[in-house]
């Protein structure tokens, strides 16, 4: 077994005394802000943005604390701490989000300084997980492990984390600002539906550079990000982002909250004019002050360390034998396990989507179990995916069966990564103060309807994404099937979209027809799946069939009874 001290060589950025001092100071700053609010020195209007910038929302039943999991990577040690906080200050569970973070739903304001203190003990915080600032940077859940990876995005995501932390100029932006980064030719981070989406790549000389997409986003006005520069050299990475943010901070709309995201600025100025503004600002900013020197990049990379992989071969005999002997295990491997850049290893998705379960929820006990499994099988390191699952990224292939056996025994072996049961859902009206309708009960009903793993595998890759309001935290616009909860005179209705796609072929889904009730929605999904299965050609995914046959047959079947 590979027991590695957390944060040392596990491939997780290791804090030093300066990082720790900063987080400790920030906790004390927030403690003082809470005291000033309780004493009346700060009004609620003044306090709200301050608490939001520390991840603290007021939701329907209590405060909600959103803990940052920077680019979705954490140590077993950190996950155990989260489990403990869930038990001590919450109700024994947490919710993993589409932004690779963790939310606690039942938090007391007066407890938050103590919770932040506990987080600081394991080099964690809740900084900038909300508010009109640059949010937690997200990336590929297989970062640093994927076989198709060209550039390790963690290094640049960490540089961004540091650079955006309490940025003096960009902490009171017109609206929130989300950056995602990918280091592969594939897109597993929905790059083009972020305010800024970045592909890290290499030129023919092997140098690192970045392709920038700006102005993507979901919500009320969904947009696919526009390419504004194909190659930004590594040393200009920070300067270029600084230029984008300065243009946005100065020209982004502040008169209307629904038009304040950068996507509206890009749309209103036009891609060309916006690009020109950024380029002019960049030309002024470029220089030694903002230069990202190679030594900085090397130092950050060094502080990630990296697992000490052994020399192994793919598909060891023991794995083949286990798959042959156990069809359920074979199915889990086929669905939830992907290739690793190092032969003999694999990345395994731990589904938090059991049939009929609450997507993304994990109990403190489950978190502790996964932490133990991460220690035993993945160098003490794990990830949160934007699909609200957990990932052990560096598992020896000959240990997969042992891992699966432990997961299966604890209800965490659901073989549905990327399948119809792997539903993304926001908390919806069961928890969220902004929601118009519930999301979770619908996700539960759909995943229960499609509970049979064999049927799910037959259906194949099909992402259902559910949002309880137009803010689209459940990414419904980019679901192959998207579901948006709406309120019609006090009743919950659901609008179905099809054809959304968060990958390289990014597309916003189209509305299929009038909104229907929750029960009707489940039947509608079934109808859509039936039409797909009866029309598909060999090897076609749902999206392929949809593209070929169009909406007609789907619409006809779904609304046949209306």
């Amino acid at each position: 077994m590979n027991h590695i001290a957390p944060g040392r060589n596990a491939g997780v950025y290791s804090y030093d005394d300066i990082d720790r001092r900063f987080v400790a100071e920030r906790v004390e700053q927030f403690r003082a802000q809470v005291e000033r609010r309780l004493s009346g020195e700060l009004t609620e209007e003044e306090f709200k943005p301050l608490r939001l910038m520390n991840g603290l929302y007021l939701q329907l039943h209590a405060y909600m604390l959103r803990v940052a999991v920077p680019y979705g990577v954490l140590t077993s040690h950190q996950l155990r701490k989260l489990a403990g906080i869930g038990r001590k200050y919450d109700k024994g569970y947490g919710h993993f989000t589409t932004r690779q973070n963790l939310q606690f739903n039942w938090i007391k304001l007066e407890d938050t300084p103590a919770i932040l203190n506990e987080l600081a003990e394991v080099d964690m915080h809740a900084l900038q997980t909300s508010g009109n600032c640059v949010r937690n940077v997200t990336t590929d859940q297989f970062v640093g492990a994927a076989r198709d990876e060209v550039v390790d995005g963690r290094v640049y995501a960490e540089i961004l984390r540091q650079w955006t932390t309490l940025h003096p100029e960009f902490t009171y932006l017109p609206r929130k600002f989300k950056i995602a980064i990918m280091g592969s030719d594939a897109d597993r981070a929905a790059i083009r539906v972020h305010d800024v989406g970045v592909f890290a790549k290499r030129n023919e000389r092997g140098e690192v550079g970045f392709t920038f997409y700006v102005g993507g986003g979901l919500g009320r006005s969904p947009f696919v990000g526009k390419l504004i520069r194909d190659w930004v050299p590594e040393e200009d990475f920070v300067a270029y982002l600084e230029a984008i943010l300065r243009v946005y901070n100065q020209y982004g709309r502040r008169d209307n909250i629904y038009k304040a995201r950068i996507k509206i600025l890009v749309h209103e100025l036009g891609q060309e004019k916006f690009t020109q503004e950024v380029e002019e600002e960049f030309a002024r900013l470029r220089g030694p002050k903002y230069r990202l020197a190679p030594e900085i990049v090397d130092e950050i990379r060094r502080r990630f360390g990296g697992p000490a992989f052994e020399t192994l071969t793919d598909e060891p005999e023991s794995l083949q034998a286990a798959k042959a002997a156990n069809p359920d295990f074979a199915r889990w491997v086929a669905v939830n396990v992907v290739a690793h850049k190092v032969p003999g290893y694999a990345a395994a998705t731990i589904s938090l989507k059991p049939a009929g379960g609450i997507p993304g929820d994990a109990t403190s006990e489950q978190m502790e179990l996964v932490a133990d499994l991460a220690d035993a099988h993945s160098f003490g390191e794990l990830r949160v995916s934007h699909a609200q699952n957990l990932v052990l990224a560096h598992v020896r292939q000959d240990a997969l069966f042992t891992l699966w056996t432990a997961l299966e025994a604890n209800g965490l072996g659901t073989p549905n990564a990327g399948l119809i049961g792997d539903i993304i859902a926001c908390p919806g009206l069961d928890y969220c103060a902004l929601a118009n309708a519930r999301s979770i009960p619908l996700a539960q009903a759909i995943s229960a309807r499609f509970a049979d793993p064999a049927r799910q595998q037959t259906i194949g890759e099909l992402g259902i994404k559910i949002s309880g309001c137009i803010n689209a935290c459940g990414h419904h616009h980019v679901g192959a099937i998207g579901i948006l909860g709406v309120d019609k005179k006090g009743e919950e209705f659901y609008q179905i979209t099809v054809g959304g796609d968060p990958t390289l072929t990014t597309a916003i889904g189209d509305i299929l027809g009038p909104a229907v009730t929750a029960d009707e929605t489940v039947d509608a999904i079934e109808a859509i799946v039936e039409v797909y299965l009866s029309n598909r050609h060999d090897g076609e995914r749902f999206l392929d069939t949809l593209k070929r046959v169009g909406h007609g047959p789907f619409k006809e079947r779904v609304y046949a009874a209306h």
């Binding site: 900063f22 700053q29 540091q162 009171y172 100065q250 950050i300």
Partner: protein, 165 residues
């Protein structure tokens, strides 16, 4: 409203002149950008220092050409959440080399003070009920920064800097 400089309340040598009111000739006075545009010739030959007050939507390039006429630029924050002023101040310093006083006026809170200093502000108008100790404390509670800025920070290592205060 109390004026904050270097973390404490100080005497304000400047008088803010509302549009339409006479501008005192014998003491430093702040006029609005709108008035400056309309009546700029009337300030020819003025000896006492002149300051300019700009709304949050008036960005640095709009006043750049006249900067040498002003010993002070007051940047308005209509509400503290409107952060355009941080970019305006920074551009005045970094892009246009402005060396006069830059003052935050309108609604700013102590929790923004360090950001104000780091983007080039030299003074801030605090709300009437403000607690001076909160402003003083705001300059010392965070000692590490991750970006270059205007308060002459000392690099600690790589991205990190010790904040000067």
């Amino acid at each position: 409203m109390p004026l904050i400089k270097d973390g404490r309340i100080v005497e304000d040598a400047w008088v803010a002149v509302a549009d339409g009111e006479p501008v005192p000739a014998d003491r430093p006075a702040i006029v609005t950008f709108e008035r400056w545009q309309a009546e700029r010739a009337s300030f020819d030959g003025r000896n006492a220092a002149l300051g300019l007050r700009v709304k949050s939507g008036t960005l640095a390039p709009a006043i750049a050409a006249d900067l040498d006429r002003f010993a002070l630029v007051a940047i308005e924050f209509p509400k503290f959440r409107d952060g355009r002023g941080f970019s305006t101040a920074r551009e005045l310093r970094e892009r246009y080399g402005y060396e006069g006083e830059i003052r935050a006026v309108g609604h700013v809170i102590p929790d923004q003070y360090q950001f104000l200093v780091r983007t080039g502000f030299t003074s801030a108008e605090a709300p009437e009920h403000t607690k001076p100790e909160s402003w003083a404390h705001a300059l010392t509670e965070i000692t590490v920064a991750f970006q270059p800025s205007l308060d002459d920070p000392q690099p600690l290592s790589l991205l990190r800097r010790r904040l000067g205060s």
